[in-house]
Symmetry: C2
Amino acid sequence: MTTIYLAEDQEMLNSALSALLDLEDDLQVIGTATDGETALKQIIDLKPNIAILDIEMPKLTGLEIAKQLRIIKQDIKIIILTTFAQASYFEQAVSSRVNAYLLKDSPTDDLIETIQNVLEGKTIFAPELVTNIISSEKNPLTKREIDILKEINLGLSSQEIAQKVFLSDGTVRNYISSIFSKTGTHSRIEALNIARKNKWI
Amino acid sequence: MTTIYLAEDQEMLNSALSALLDLEDDLQVIGTATDGETALKQIIDLKPNIAILDIEMPKLTGLEIAKQLRIIKQDIKIIILTTFAQASYFEQAVSSRVNAYLLKDSPTDDLIETIQNVLEGKTIFAPELVTNIISSEKNPLTKREIDILKEINLGLSSQEIAQKVFLSDGTVRNYISSIFSKTGTHSRIEALNIARKNKWI
DNA sequence: GGCATATTATGACATTTGTCATTAATAATC
DNA sequence: GATTATTAATGACAAATGTCATAATATGCC
């Protein structure tokens, strides 16, 4: 009997998947969570054979959970299940030696098949990934620039940002200018659009 | 035997739910789709007792499907299943005499219970709706203003917008000024944030 | 030790943005 | 028929934004 832990923040999908997986007579879902923190604690506690992890969850992402589990060298197969074919996510998954990376854009049969394959020691990456991958540039912005871009995102003016982060108005404007040249843009909104597309903010 | 049609664009949830519903011995899923257009056609064709519809789908939203089905007076129970507790969605659902409105933030048991209740003629609205509803103001912007706001969203400058929509630069700036006063803001990014929150763009 | 990068700052400048008053032609509504 | 809302425009002005040159300090790296 293979034990499974499922972390997925959308309750409907969470309960539907756990019910379905439980129906397979060689699989048993021994726990589920809708946030990352609970998931990590319980996975360490319950020691399932397999963890199926969503990426975007409250408190802790699935990728961070995977990283932690590899650090403490827990013997577990990890399947990442996500909406996003984002290159940066994919790279993080590879570097955490995840056993499979599957898109929610696939049917449940694929998930069950993936579970079987992973159990046999195979590493599975969804074929759609190769074609649909959204290759985001690696972030060229410094910490300060990212901070300022986040304030821009809230709609603050240069002076408001200056006050909030304790810088001079001129300095803030210089940083913004630098953000523009690094993103190849000339306005706040363009820069925000690029940063959002690449998940820099 | 109750026949069900399921329209949900996320394949994983789509297949998980149809498998689960099919397990109930008084329910039968007679078709599913991942886009609204196909869904509407097949619902008219297959005449299921119940349609479970996601709102945000390609080509046609679940709410538009509901509206169409009411116009042609097809005898069908409609359950809207969505992530969003958006007041505007809710109102549209009510005006299309939808039989239930359920959040994906609920477990599958709730969905099955809702199906039973709807069959008995009850109208069900998720209790979380009442507490979590995101009350978006009704859109005070004119068509022209919305058009211009969409261009702003792309990061265009006043002049670029002027060229694109064949207006003078000054006129564009006047419209933007008007958008600000209607949204109670003083900058493009603030206005965009408000418009996004309220789903005006 | 030296080089590159990040952080912070100032001053100056052109351009853009946002505001306001004012005008005018169409619809749409009462 | 009068009133209101929408669309469109101009001119003028203050404020904000974006660009550039220049410079100082701090930190990490070869």
